[in-house]
């Protein structure tokens, strides 16, 4: 039997009950949320359970929702079951004041740099990571640039002198 989104949802709810929530399907991809403390258990279950077998970590990245108090930082995992050819999106949310998430390096070697990248840009502290330091930015940087509190220059501002740009 081909693996379906509905089956995956039932299986996860059966195993984790209230710990997993917010199931939704967008563009055919099942997406759900788990509590941050249980991310490893969910990943391990998805990896080991014979009928699920999500053993390929496609992508791991962070997202910042500054207005969502207590859930400002999100870590998003995209998993892929290559034999059944079905994808899954799994999210956890942590407060920006204590962005602690367990590392998935022991499960996926590929998570190492992706977690370092997420740390680099969002400051997510991956607990247990073997080498959690900046990867793309300089080591001396003391802020996490992809957080929404650092806006790019506003291109609609009016206080710029047009003369400097050959206009006006």
């Amino acid at each position: 039997m081909a693996l379906t989104n509905q089956y995956m949802q039932e299986k996860l709810q059966e195993k984790f009950g209230d710990l997993v929530s917010n199931f939704e399907e967008s563009y055919g991809l099942l997406s759900f949320e788990a509590t941050a403390a249980n991310n490893l258990k969910v990943l391990q279950f998805l990896y080991d359970e014979p009928s699920l077998q999500f053993q390929f970590l496609t992508d791991l990245c962070g997202v910042n929702f500054p207005d969502d108090a207590g859930r400002e930082i999100s870590v998003v995992y995209h998993l892929h079951n290559l034999t059944e050819n079905i994808r899954l999106r799994f999210k956890i949310f942590v407060p920006v004041a204590a962005p602690d998430v367990f590392t998935s390096c022991n499960l996926f070697s590929s998570a190492n740099w992706m977690e370092r990248e997420t740390y680099d840009f969002y400051g997510v502290n991956f607990v247990g990571h073997p080498n959690l330091k900046r990867i793309l930015n300089v080591d001396e940087m003391d802020y996490f640039p992809l957080r929404k509190e650092y806006p790019l220059e506003d291109q609609t501002r009016i206080d710029k002198d047009d003369e400097m740009f050959g206009r006006g």
């Binding site: 390929f56 496609t58 992508d59 995209h78 740099w113 790019l152």
Partner: protein
């Protein structure tokens, strides 16, 4: 006499020690530290590796990446969708059209835009040309690093033909910004098709000759077989995709597993290797070029089958995202409004999130787009294949020779622009 020498040496050392302070433990150390990069003549791109060598064997290595990081993901948060295309050019710049179209396909899927078949086929032609040019560079560079420069210079002429086709279609060569959301900015000219025909006619002979130069070449085989090998299991765990994963024996190809741009209409096979070493990677890329050629031929036939008005279709009807014709902007109110809204970036996107992937030159190129209903993405993340698989490099080269490490690096098809985003 011997004692005298000893004394001289001792004096010299004592003298030196006044001027030079060596790092602690460096005299007793049995291994050599070698800094390869960031801009080393043997690495093609900006990669730094601090290697610990025992003679010529690599004991360990520490990679540094990020030298050409350009904050693409941050930049994308302030740009309307169509302005993000030029950013994608600069990821894997050996096959920019695939990135451009991957991005357009993501936007189209997100916005629910249906593209006409002719657009799909034209895109397939360009994407497969890009794949050939990407693999061509990679394979010929592997040749250069094993001491065969001729192949590289020879095939460069034929990459030029591909670039001329790009130029005819979109006006630029390397960072192409080719196409728009919904299709192409203009129809392919007859010159473009003539150039494509010329390429299809001349290239197979060249590829055959290139293959003959390397595939059974004793020196090449001995340099590449067994070097940088990885098992299928480890490759999957390291998130390998593309030719590197297929060389290890896993037949995963986004074009087949999640067909986009009508790839399901084409007949092609996925070449796989066995050992995942440098030689298998070379062979897989080589076979893929033959497959790409066959796909281009099929697509060209399909494109030629469109007659009359159908042969003039080169974009979908999406006024919100596809710039209207310039003469319409000057004469029609509707077009003027859309033109203004698009140029000023005033088109609002639906809310939602999407992950969409295409088979890039070196693996699964994914776009994770989160939209809060604004004019620009709330968050855009690029799944850059070589950033993910470059992690495996230390495991691939440890215990091997330094010169093999260089070949391994080229055969992984690492593109610094993509690695560092």
């Amino acid at each position: 006499m011997e004692e005298d020498n000893h004394k001289i040496l001792k004096d010299m050392l004592a003298h030196q020690q006044h001027h030079i302070t060596l790092p602690e433990g460096s005299i007793e150390k049995q291994t050599t530290t070698l800094n390869v990069g960031p801009t080393h003549p043997a690495t093609h791109g900006v990669f730094q590796n601090i290697m610990e060598l025992d003679g010529e064997r690599i004991v360990s290595t520490e990679q540094t990446v990020g030298y050409i990081h350009r904050a693409f993901e941050k930049l994308a948060e302030r740009r309307p969708l169509y302005q993000i295309t030029p950013i994608t050019d600069r990821l894997n710049y050996c096959s920019s059209p695939i990135n451009n179209m991957g991005w357009h396909l993501t936007c189209e899927k997100f916005l629910g835009v249906q593209t006409p078949k002719r657009v799909d086929y034209l895109r397939v032609i360009i994407m497969e040309l890009a794949r050939i040019s990407d693999h061509l560079i990679c394979n010929s560079i592997v040749g250069v690093d094993t001491g065969a420069y001729t192949g590289f210079l020879y095939v460069m002429q034929y990459r030029e033909l591909i670039y001329e086709i790009y130029e005819e279609v979109c006006g630029s060569r390397l960072t192409t910004n080719i196409g728009r959301i919904g299709g192409f900015e203009r129809n392919f000219t007859n010159t473009a098709f003539e150039k494509l025909e010329k390429f299809l006619k001349e290239y197979p002979k060249v590829l055959k000759e290139f293959e003959n130069l390397f595939a059974r070449n004793r020196i090449f085989m001995e340099r590449t077989i067994g070097g940088g090998a990885i098992s299928a299991e480890r490759a999957l765990n390291y998130g390998f995709t593309g030719p590197n994963l297929r060389a290890a024996g896993v037949d995963y190809d986004v074009r087949v597993h999640q067909p986009y741009s009508s790839y399901q209409d084409f007949d092609f096979t996925i070449p796989v290797g066995k050992t995942g070493d440098n030689y298998d990677r070379f062979l897989v890329r080589n076979q893929e070029m033959w497959q790409s050629l066959s796909i281009i031929e099929q697509a060209y036939k399909k494109v030629q089958a469109f007659k009359g008005a159908d042969a003039e279709i080169f974009h979908a009807d999406v006024p919100e995202y596809y710039l209207p014709k310039k003469e319409d902007v000057y004469t029609k109110m509707e077009s003027l409004i859309w033109h203004f809204k698009i140029v000023m970036g005033e088109v609002e996107m639906p809310k939602g999130e999407i992950y969409n992937a295409v088979e890039g030159g070196n693996g699964e190129l994914g776009f994770y787009l989160v939209s809060d209903g604004g004019r620009t993405p709330f968050r855009l993340h690029f799944r850059r294949p070589c950033f993910i698989y470059y992690q495996a490099y230390p495991e691939l080269i440890t215990g091997g020779m330094l010169s093999d490490a260089i070949v391994t690096m080229s055969s992984l098809n690492l593109i610094a622009g993509e690695l560092d985003a």
